[in-house]
């Protein structure tokens, strides 16, 4: 029977599969575009609102009262919750799915904006604008990022880069906000912003659930084989064609998973498992309900074991994973290295005697270069000439060197060269953060990993600006911040050198765990 099944699979009616393949793939491609578009919008709105908070700052201070420090708390809560809320959002995402989470996030943001129009005191604003908006941003961001990773398997880096280029467009939002404030006052502006962010609700609906193919450590291969044969027995030879076709597609999509050695090993054992997994979940590209019911009937044995394998709700396992430590180390330091120079570039230009018009020109050129380099780096990484994190490491090292050389730049052309070089390398490594994480961890556990990584990055983000300011106060020159950023950028890739050994360690551990079970 096994052989029968094997043959059936081979002669495998290329016909029905071929009929389905272009259709399914086209549909998949369309939905992937939708997801990228949604992520793009999320980037534009989230980063745009964070950046334009400075404009609201002045209005809040005058009309609502409160000292400068109190009002700036609102901004800090908003931007830090975006990262710190990530683990909680990861839990919600796994429970509810990405689409509902994203809709919740969008409504939180819109609701927060609307509520803030009624604000009369700073603590009120802290909660309504800071808390609600921050959590909303976290929800939106996490859901969109993970959905992109799930949907765009092959071209993840490029899609990520396209979505991130939304950040480059945020420079348009600032003058727009100023115009709105002049026209409608800050309350009217917040009202209109609430409406605009409500637009994220229909775009979140583009995040259609995808049947993921988790490479699980299966309890026993025999059970799987048994189920496949049972399945093949039921139904006619022709009917079988369709089931095979369905399974073929699941297998193919399982193969598309970005894998590292660890995952490959797991997959080798569970070639059949993902297919069955896929058939069991109610996916878009599944065939007749017959197969689904057959599959469910045939392995009553599997569900209990799956429950064992399913992750607990608040999954702390990433914290014990060496790969996670590697990634987070690099993530935190690269974030520090990214934000500090941006804060201080303009002020350093001014201390060197460059006019503020020219200084803002520096920033805009840097922004555009970064956008372009993100796209390029994403495209290059997708070509898979070498592992993605090699590029990541290369960009980080180069950006570190650039930062260390920055103090030598004392005239406008030199500063411009520095800005362009910095933007190129920063764009390069920023675009690769998500793909590298997906490479290291796989899509299934992405939620918890991304959640915790964002949490630690959030701690760095809170500490970054005050640290930079303190550096300036201590050394009375901006040179130190650039040296500091360069040092951070050079420290962060160090952890990646441990990646191969970490993977081997993981493999050994997994083999030990599964040794006694193999029958």
């Amino acid at each position: 029977m096994q052989q029968q099944g094997g043959e059936g699979k081979e002669e495998e009616p290329e016909a029905p599969a071929a009929r389905k393949r272009p259709g399914a793939e086209a549909a998949d491609g369309g939905w992937a575009l939708g997801v990228v578009f949604h992520f793009f919008l999320v980037n534009v709105f989230v980063i745009g609102m964070l950046k334009t908070f400075g404009i609201f700052f002045v209005a809040f201070q005058e009309e609502v009262g409160g000292s400068s420090e109190q009002v700036s708390w609102i901004g800090s809560i908003m931007s830090s919750l975006r990262f710190l809320g990530a683990p909680l959002v990861a839990v919600i995402c796994r429970r509810l799915g990405e689409r509902p989470t994203s809709v919740i996030g969008a409504s939180l943001v819109a609701g927060g904006c609307l509520l803030s129009t009624q604000a009369t005191s700073v603590p009120f604003l802290c909660v309504s604008m800071g808390l609600l908006l921050g959590m909303g941003f976290a929800c939106l961001y996490q859901a969109a990022a993970v959905m992109t990773a799930k949907r765009c398997r092959t071209r993840l880096a490029f899609s990520n880069a396209i979505a991130r280029s939304g950040m480059g467009l945020t420079f348009l939002i600032a003058p727009f906000t100023q115009l709105l404030i002049d026209f409608y006052g800050w309350q009217g502006t917040l009202l209109i912003f609430g409406g605009i962010t409500l637009n994220l609700v229909p775009s979140s609906m583009l995040l259609r659930p995808v049947s993921t193919q988790p490479p699980r450590h299966s309890p026993a291969k025999n059970q799987d084989r048994g189920s496949i044969t049972a399945q093949q027995e039921s139904g006619t030879p022709d009917g079988r064609l369709d089931k095979n076709a369905g399974r073929e597609i699941q297998l193919r999509s399982a193969q598309d998973l970005p894998t590292t050695e660890g995952d490959r090993m797991a997959r080798g054992r569970d070639a059949s498992d993902p297919a069955l997994e896929g058939l069991e979940k109610p996916p878009l590209d599944s065939c007749s309900p017959e197969i689904a019911t057959e599959a469910k009937r045939s392995y009553k044995s599997l569900p209990p074991t799956e429950k064992e394998n399913s992750q607990p709700l608040l999954d702390f396992s990433p914290l014990k994973d060496p790969v996670f430590c590697i990634f987070t180390w690099s993530f935190v330091f690269s974030h520090l290295a990214y934000f500090v120079p941006i804060f201080h570039l303009v002020t350093r230009a001014r201390t060197l005697g460059i006019s503020s018009m020219d200084a803002s020109y520096l920033i805009s050129v840097a922004g555009i270069t970064e956008m372009v380099s993100q796209l390029l780096s994403g495209w290059v990484a997708d070509q898979n000439w070498t592992k993605k994190y090699h590029y990541h490491v290369a960009y980080l090292v180069l950006s570190g060197i650039t930062n260390l050389l920055c103090p030598l730049a004392t005239t406008f052309p030199l500063l411009m060269t520095y800005a362009v070089a910095f933007a190129i390398f920063c764009g390069g490594f920023m675009a690769l953060v998500l793909p590298v994480l997906v490479d290291l961890v796989g899509v299934q556990k992405l939620h918890s990993y991304l959640g915790f990584a964002a949490f630690f990055a959030g701690i760095a983000a809170i500490g970054g600006p005050p640290l930079a300011g303190w550096l300036y106060d201590y050394t009375q020159t901006y040179v130190c911040s650039f040296l500091f950023a360069g040092a951070c950028a050079l420290i962060s890739p160090i952890s990646f050198f441990f990646e191969p050994s970490a993977q081997k360690w993981k493999l050994k551990k997994a083999k030990l765990n599964n040794g006694p079970r193999c029958g």
Binding site: F183, G185, D238, D242
Partner: protein, 229 residues
């Protein structure tokens, strides 16, 4: 040169000749205020100065020193009270809401602040004890004054003046208040919300349509399988 005085003081104004003109021999120096010439000029080697006791508003103004030889060189001194800056952009607020207008005199401390509202072409002082539930004038600190206008209506829209009284005179700053009705920002908001609702409905409809299509296709396939049996 502009000199700002907020209180009575003794001022010495001097005009000094630059080195490149020291070759000029016969120089006639005149200090004038408007058309009036000032007599007591203290002369030193290269400078001519006058001393003024500014006690009240009448002494403020523009003073000039003119050096006449073949050419005429002159310098102007403007003695004035501190200027109060109003706001360029209008303050936008909504009906029924409260608006706060702030006037600040950064370097010099005025003796008193008064607020005026422009009614037609007249300026009427705002008496906050008279209309206590409408206007509240707060002197937050010595240099800053707040005018809080509560329960705004359309009639409160217009130009306001904050006047700072110094020992030597008064100076005004201009502020504009714009009162909007709630409908004004609500219209674009409702437009956007309706657009969102339309999009959401479209997406829903599309999903239901595609589910139906799948179900039909599945039913067809089931039918085929049954037939082939």
């Amino acid at each position: 040169k502009n000199i700002t005085l907020d209180r009575a003081a003794r001022v010495e104004l001097s005009c000094r000749l630059d080195k490149k003109y020291s070759h000029l021999k016969s120089l006639q120096v005149t200090w004038k205020r408007g058309n009036e010439t000032i007599r007591h000029i203290n002369k030193t080697e290269n400078s001519w100065s006058i001393q003024l006791r500014i006690l009240d508003n009448s002494k403020l103004g523009s003073y000039s020193c003119t050096l006449k030889d073949e050419e005429e060189i002159s310098a102007m001194f403007h003695l004035q009270v501190p200027k109060i800056e109003g706001k360029e952009k209008p303050i936008v607020s909504y009906e029924g809401d409260t608006a706060v207008m702030i006037c600040n005199s950064p370097e010099y401390t005025p003796i008193a602040w008064t607020w005026y509202v422009t009614n037609g072409s007249e300026q009427i002082a705002i008496n906050d004890s008279l209309l206590a539930d409408k206007y509240v004038i707060d002197r937050i600190s010595a240099n800053v004054t707040h005018l809080k206008i509560q329960k705004l209506t359309k009639e409160d829209d217009g130009v306001y003046w904050c006047e700072a009284a110094f020992e030597l005179g008064k100076s005004k700053g201009k502020l504009k208040l714009k009162v909007l009705s709630l409908m004004v920002p609500l219209k674009p908001f409702l437009a956007i919300v309706s657009e969102v609702v339309i999009l959401v409905t479209l997406v829903f409809l599309y999903e239901m349509y595609s589910k139906k299509k799948e179900k039909c296709a599945e039913d067809e396939r089931e039918f085929d399988q049954v037939e082939q049996l």
